[in-house]
Amino acid sequence: MEAIIIGITKSAIRLATPYLYASIGETLGQLSGVLNLGVDGVMLMGAFSAFYTVLKTGNLGLGLLVAIVVGAIFGLLIAFVNVTLKAEQGISGIGFYIFGQGLSSVLFSVMIGSVHTVNGFPPLPIPWFSDLPLVGEILFQQNILVYGAFALIPLSWFLLTKTPLGLNIRAVGQNPQAADSLGVNIVRIRYFTVIAGGILSGIAGASLSIALLNVFQQNLTNGMGFIAVALVYFGAWRPLSVLNGALLFSTVNAIQIWVQVKGINIPPDFTLMMPYLVTIVVLTAMAKRRVRPPAALNKPFQRGEE
C-alpha cells in the first residue's frame, strides 16, 4: 500500500510540472490584463523544438534554451497582436493555438517523421533530503525541471507581492488608466508578462518532451494548455492556489494512470475523463466564491478612454 501511495504521489508531482509552468505564465499575463488562450500551441512548439534539438545534439541544456527562445518569440508575437494591435484576445488566442499545433505537427513530419525517444533530464537527487523517508523519494529524487516548476511558485509570489514590478503588473490588470496616469508604461508591462508567459509555456512543453515523457508526437500536449488556463481561474490568480489546483488535477490524473496500468476493470474512457470532470466540478463549485478576474482582463488599453 505504501508503495502505491508513494508511486502515485511521485507521479502526481511529476505530472504537475508542465501545468505549473504554463499556469504561472498565464497568471502573469492575465494579472496584467492579457488573456492568452494560445498556451497549448506554444507548449507544442516548445516541446517540439526542445525535442528536436536534443535528438540532433544530445545537449539537454541547449534543448531547453531553444524551447525558451521559441517560447519568447511566440510571446512576442502574441503581445504584438494583443497589446499593440489590440486584437480580440479570446479569438487571437485560439488562432495562436491552432498555429502552434499545426506548425509543430508539420515540422515534426518533415524533420523527424517517426516516433523516437531521447534521454531526458535524469533524476537529480538532492543530497541529504533525498534520503528522508517517504518525502525523500517523493519530492527530492525528481529531475531539475520538476524542481524548477515548484520553485516558480514562491518566486512568482515574491515577484507579484514584494516588488514594484509586481505591483505594476497587478495595477495594470485592474485599472490601466490609473496606472498610466502615474507614469506606468502599460505596453511595456504587458509585453513583459506575455513574453514571460510564452517562455514558461515553452519550458512547459520542453518538460514534457525532454524531461517527463522524452518523446515527441503530433499534439503531444493533448489540450494541457487549456487545462493550464482553467487552473489560473481555479487558483484565482494566486500562485499558491494555482499550485493546489495543479496538484489536485495531477493527482487525479496519476490515479487514473495507475488504474489503467493495473488493468482495474473500469472503462478507460471513463478514467480518462476523470481529471477533466474533476476540473469542471471544482470550477463550478468555486464559481460561488466570487473571486473576480482582473477588471481589465481582455481589454486593450487606449490612453484617454474611460
Partner: protein, 519 residues
C-alpha cells in the same frame, strides 16, 4: 515656501503655468478653441462651464493625457512639451480626475506607491510609503488609513487618496476635476477646509466645477468656458451666482423653480414595514413605512449610503424585501417583476443611470423605446413598427430638447445631461402613475438640472404622478418636495411638510435624531 511637507517629500515648485492658444479637435467636436489660461502660485483658479464645455480636455492636455493640436504651454515662463502624465508629474503638476483613477483591489499605500521608483530598488518599500503617507495625512488633514484596501473606502476617502497620491509625488499645482460632484455637503465642506489650508501653505489649485456656490466660496479667479471657448476670466470678488450662470449658459437662467401647490389625490404608492438586505447581507432597510399621494413629490433626504439606493430598488422590483409589502394604487405589488411593475404604471429614473438606465451600445432611438418596445404602437405582432418608432423618437428628442445630431447617434456620444434628458423622456412619456427618481440631477450641469426640475414639477401638475424623489442634495429636496422623509441607517426619522421644517431640524434627523426627540 510650503511648510512641513517639504521635510517628507521633494516638492517641485510651480510659480506660474500659462496655456496659450490651445486647440484640441475631437472627431466632430472642437473641444478647445484657442484657449488662453494661466494660474499663479498661491491662488485657486476655477474653470467653470457646463458639461461638454471643454474643461476636462484642457486639463488633460496640461496633464499629458491628450496632446494639443495647436498652442503652447509655459511652466515658470519656460516653454514645455508635455507628452505624458509622467512629464507633468516631473514639472510639479498633479491631477485628481473626475472619475477616480484608483485600483480598488490594492491598498491605499500601494496606490500611492504605484509607478514610483522604490527606495529599495527591486523590493517594494511599502512600510516607508505608509509612514510618509501618515505624515502627509497629519499635515494636510486628509484622514485615511494607508493600509486599507481602496474598495473599502467611502467616496470621500477615495478622493483623499487621490489628493495624497498627487502630494506624495511632490506636485505643488493641483488640478481637481469636479471633485465635489460625488460628495455630500458635509464632505464638500471638509474638502474645502483642506484645500484652503493647503493654499495658505503655498500650494496652487486649478478647480473645476459647475456649482456656482462652491465656485464663489473657494476661488480667487474664475474662467468661464462655453463650447470650447473662453467667455471671460474674472476675479471672484466681481462675480455673483446670477452673473456666472448667465456667462456659463449664455442666457438668463432661473436658479429656483416655480412650485405651485396642487390638490393631493389618493395614496398611489405605499410601503408597509419594508425590510431589505443590502449587498453586504446586513439589513439596509429596517421597517420602512411611507405613503406617496397622487400629485405629490415626497423627498427622501439623508446622507448617502443610508438605504436610499435599496429603497429605490425595492420599489422598482430590482430587490426583494425580506419582510413587508409594497402597494401601488391599492394593489399589493410586492415581489412583482420589474416588467409587471412597468406595465402597471411605474417609472424609474435610476441612480446609476449609465448602468441601469440605458444600454450604452444602443442608439438614441432604441434607448428611447426600451421599456415599451414590445407593446403597440412600437410593435405590431412580432414585428417592430419602425415608422412609428421614428416618429415618436423625433417627437421626444424635440420635446425634451435632447441635443443630438440624429436619432441614430450612439448613446455613448451624448453628454451626461442629454442622457438624463433621454431617460426622462422615456420615463415621463410613459405617463406613469408612480415615479421613482433616484439622484435625478447628480453630476448634471445647471441647464440640465433646471430642466429636470421643471419636468418633475410639470409632471406632478399635469399627470398627478406620485413622485418619490431620492436625493443627497438637500437644496434639491427643499426646492421640489411637498413633504420630506428623512432616512437614517435604513429607518425613517420623520416625515415633515416642507414649509413646516427648518434646515437645522432636517440636519438633526439626517444625523440620526428622531423627529419626536427634536427639542
Amino acid at each position: 515656501m510650503i511648510k512641513n511637507s517639504s521635510k517628507i517629500i521633494n516638492l517641485i515648485k510651480v510659480e506660474t503655468v500659462e496655456m496659450r492658444g490651445i486647440v484640441k479637435q475631437f472627431p466632430g467636436v472642437l473641444a478647445n478653441d484657442h484657449i488662453n489660461f494661466d494660474v499663479h502660485v498661491g491662488e485657486v483658479h476655477t474653470l467653470l462651464g457646463e458639461n461638454g464645455a471643454g474643461k476636462s480636455t484642457l486639463m488633460k492636455i496640461l496633464y499629458g493625457i491628450y496632446h494639443q493640436d495647436e498652442g503652447e504651454i509655459y511652466v515658470n515662463g519656460k516653454l514645455v512639451n508635455i507628452r505624458s502624465p509622467l512629464d507633468a508629474i516631473r514639472l510639479g503638476i498633479g491631477m485628481v480626475h473626475q472619475h477616480f483613477m484608483l485600483v480598488p483591489t490594492l491598498t491605499v499605500a500601494e496606490n500611492v506607491a504605484l509607478g514610483l521608483p522604490s527606495s529599495r530598488k527591486f523590493l517594494l518599500d511599502l512600510d516607508m510609503v505608509t509612514e510618509r503617507i501618515k505624515e502627509l495625512v497629519k499635515i494636510n488633514g486628509l484622514y485615511v488609513d494607508p493600509e486599507a484596501k481602496v474598495w473599502q473606502l467611502s467616496v470621500g476617502e477615495q478622493q483623499r487618496v487621490e489628493i495624497l497620491k498627487v502630494l506624495y509625488r511632490g506636485a505643488s499645482l493641483l488640478i481637481l476635476d469636479e471633485p465635489t460632484a460625488v460628495l455630500t455637503p458635509q464632505e464638500v465642506e471638509e474638502l474645502f477646509h483642506v484645500l484652503r489650508s493647503m493654499i495658505k501653505r503655498g500650494y496652487t489649485i486649478i478647480f473645476i466645477s459647475h456649482k456656482l456656490r462652491e465656485v464663489l466660496s473657494l476661488s480667487n479667479r474664475i474662467t468661464i468656458l462655453r463650447d470650447g471657448k473662453v467667455v471671460k476670466t474674472l476675479p471672484a470678488v466681481e462675480a455673483t451666482q446670477e452673473k456666472l450662470a448667465r456667462l456659463m449658459v449664455g442666457r438668463e437662467v432661473l436658479l429656483q423653480v416655480e412650485h405651485p401647490a396642487v390638490k393631493l389625490g389618493k395614496v398611489a404608492l405605499a410601503l408597509e414595514g419594508i425590510w431589505v438586505q443590502g449587498d453586504e447581507g446586513l439589513h439596509a432597510l429596517r421597517g420602512i413605512d411611507l405613503e406617496v399621494h397622487s400629485g405629490e413629490i415626497l423627498g427622501i433626504a439623508g446622507v448617502s449610503g443610508n438605504g436610499q439606493s435599496e429603497l429605490a430598488e425595492v420599489i422598482a422590483g430590482l430587490r426583494k424585501p425580506t419582510q413587508g409589502k409594497v402597494f401601488i394604487k391599492g394593489i399589493n405589488v410586492t415581489n412583482w417583476s420589474p416588467s409587471q411593475l412597468l406595465d402597471y404604471g411605474l417609472s424609474y429614473i435610476p441612480e446609476e443611470r449609465m448602468r441601469d438606465g440605458v444600454v450604452q451600445e444602443f442608439n438614441i432611438e432604441e434607448n428611447l423605446i426600451l421599456k415599451d418596445h414590445i407593446h403597440p404602437p412600437y410593435a405590431k405582432g412580432i414585428f417592430m413598427n419602425f415608422h412609428k418608432i421614428g416618429q415618436e423618437s423625433e417627437r421626444l428628442i424635440k420635446n425634451f430638447d435632447i441635443r443630438t445630431p440624429s436619432r441614430y447617434t450612439s448613446l455613448k456620444s451624448l453628454s451626461g445631461g442629454n442622457i438624463q434628458k433621454l431617460i426622462l423622456a422615456r420615463e415621463l412619456s410613459r405617463k406613469p402613475s408612480v415615479l421613482v427618481a433616484a439622484q435625478p440631477t447628480r453630476g448634471l450641469d445647471i441647464s440640465a438640472t433646471e430642466y429636470v426640475h421643471r419636468q418633475l414639477i410639470e409632471q406632478r401638475i399635469k399627470l398627478k404622478t406620485a413622485t418619490l424623489l431620492i436625493s443627497d442634495d438637500l437644496d434639491e429636496i427643499l426646492s421640489l418636495a411637498d413633504r420630506i422623509a428623512v432616512i437614517y441607517e435604513g429607518e425613517i426619522m420623520g416625515v415633515v411638510k416642507r414649509n413646516e421644517v427648518s434646515v437645522e431640524e432636517l440636519g438633526m434627523m439626517m444625523g440620526g435624531v428622531h423627529k419626536d426627540n427634536i427639542p
